[in-house]
Symmetry: C2
Subunit: 349 residues, 2 copies
């Protein structure tokens, strides 16, 4: 818990003077004032977060955290649990959606095992940070011990520290874990007080009957575990997931290290929500990549206070939405760094 | 008119079998069915339009057409008319917004003078297709002669033909012309029957009084010219612009040559609207880049039947929204071309 506290203590609000200074630079570019809309917002925020008037986001990394979920034994997912390690291997060989989209925007994909129920011992290219072989079934008791949750959270924090050392300018979050929309719905229900039905959707594509079962299972899990909404780490421990804890840690670590962090869809936003409930200033460092098809997502974004960048009907996860949004954020930074001013171009105001 | 007719005759509807075949390929990729949402739509449509199951969009071009407008003498714009040629020179030296964003997505920018009131004779790098030194003031009479309109339309058609010869896989539209939101509002008002006030907005950022004047000027122009809503080329001639005519031609030419075309914001969509009113199948080839801040834009998109890809509060033009959307469309194509199938990756369905 000491490491978490030390990280929280380092999270400062972004300086509004730096936002204003960046906007002044943008206002000198050869375009009508404000006419590049949100691209100017991205440029202004990345400039203020990084403390640079020429931010460098050439190094971009998407972290895809993988973990398994005891809750899948309740039949909440369309896909079998074996798909989690199979997809991890797919990420490592470059054939998954996140690989294609990260390559497209010039970002690295780093795949982190925080809790897959599979022995990857001989596998290279993977970041080995397994905390356990997946969570327990939270319909019957806590998903994790407090110790496991803290260990997974620290995995994320340490990866963010490493990014600062490497000079990574923009970080994206992603995840893989069969069944993980279920803990994500449980987290937003627990924290917001919304009913489970209001925040629970079809995940990879379950039918009506399976959706009713998923809602019932989450209600049972919340009833048995009674997570304390005022204690985000209690919620995370009891009904969360190891990859969600790692994402929460990554977001905290990015905020502590002044790195803008782009959160992907429903599951990633559950992690970011935990982080922003722990410290309000975390919000200053978050970019919400996209609006997910999952119905609970908008309540998370409202609570974080983030407006999604894209709305492309995604519901894949892995970091796919984050990757595309990182490309747009970089476009905004290039507007700041590369566009001519009225003076340079000899254009009348 | 013969060349226009020949072009219209070549525009076929996109084959629905090809759309279905592309979706089958996407459904074999390692992801839940349909989980990449609109990216799958982009891949499917580009595949069907180009007639290839491995579409090549590596060659991408944004055309930025420039023209001046007699209507500016009515005080409809915040910027003086000199800014049109100044910005053309800015495009050619690579310092404008469109240059930055096109570079970011790997697209070429081709700048076309169709009607700037400036002598670019000695300027290299520009595509010289000047039809006249700008339109006439349409508050007092027709903006162009029918001959001028047809010449400008043909400029766009011929550039699309050239793209087919060069193997360009994706075309974007853009424009520069101080005052050109005014003819664009006039076009959508004339074609849709909406009131001028419903479709007229602040352009580069005019105040309340100037907005009322802009509305009054457009009403006067429509009253004097009486464009025939059933004859899109009459609307274009009387209250349009040379760059808008060239964009209409480019869209027609892309449709005739089976090239997907990404239309930028308000002014580009006015051109695309003329094209899609001329031939309904044109719609099959159009991608709407983004939702502009201009209030008349959504009526144009509704009439074309296109859902915008991005919503980033842009109101710059030049092709800036088109460039970013082209990057996303290419991402969709890469999903089709590069993602592993369940079989290749050994992932359970």
């Amino acid at each position: 818990m000491d490491c978490i506290k030390a990280t929280l203590d380092r999270i400062k609000p972004v300086n509004p003077d730096l936002l204003e200074r960046a906007q002044l630079l943008l206002d000198n570019k050869t375009k009508p004032l404000g006419s590049l809309g949100r691209l100017e917002e991205f440029a202004r925020r990345v400039s203020a977060i990084s403390g640079s008037q020429q931010p460098d986001v050439s190094k971009k990394v998407v972290f895809t955290f993988a973990g398994d979920h005891g809750i899948v034994e309740e039949g909440v997912s369309l896909f079998p649990k074996e798909v989690t390690p199979q997809m991890v291997l797919n990420f490592l060989s470059g054939g998954a959606g996140i690989n294609v989209l990260a390559r497209h925007v010039g970002a690295d994909v780093r795949v982190v095992d925080v809790g897959v129920d599979y022995d990857f011992a001989e596998v290279t290219g993977l970041i080995h940070k397994k905390v356990s072989n997946g969570t327990q079934n939270f319909a019957k008791g806590p998903a994790m011990t407090r110790e496991e949750m803290l260990t997974a959270l620290n995995v994320g924090i340490e990866l963010a520290e490493q990014c600062r050392i490497e000079g990574v300018g923009l970080v994206g979050t992603g995840e893989m874990g069969i069944g993980n929309t279920t803990p994500s719905s449980a987290i937003i229900a627990a924290i917001s007080g919304k009913t489970v039905a209001e925040v629970t959707h079809r995940g990879t594509g379950i039918g009506d009957e399976a959706l009713l079962n998923k809602i019932r299972v989450i209600e049972q899990g919340l009833g048995i575990n009674k997570p304390d909404p005022a204690d985000p780490l209690d919620v995370l421990t009891k009904v969360g997931g190891l990859e969600i804890a790692a994402i929460a840690g990554l977001v905290l670590g990015c905020a502590a290290n002044s790195i803008p962090v782009v959160i992907d869809g429903f599951i990633s936003t559950a992690g970011a929500l935990i982080a922003s409930e722990l410290h309000p200033n975390v919000r200053d460092y978050i970019f919400a990549a996209h609006q997910s098809v999952e119905i609970g997502h908008r309540f998370m974004l409202e609570r974080i206070g983030a407006r999604p960048i894209l709305d492309l009907d995604f519901r894949l996860g892995e970091g796919t939405g984050a990757a595309l949004a990182m490309g747009l954020i970089e476009a905004g930074v290039k507007i700041l760094n590369e566009m001519a001013t009225f003076e340079q171009a000899g254009v009348s105001r």
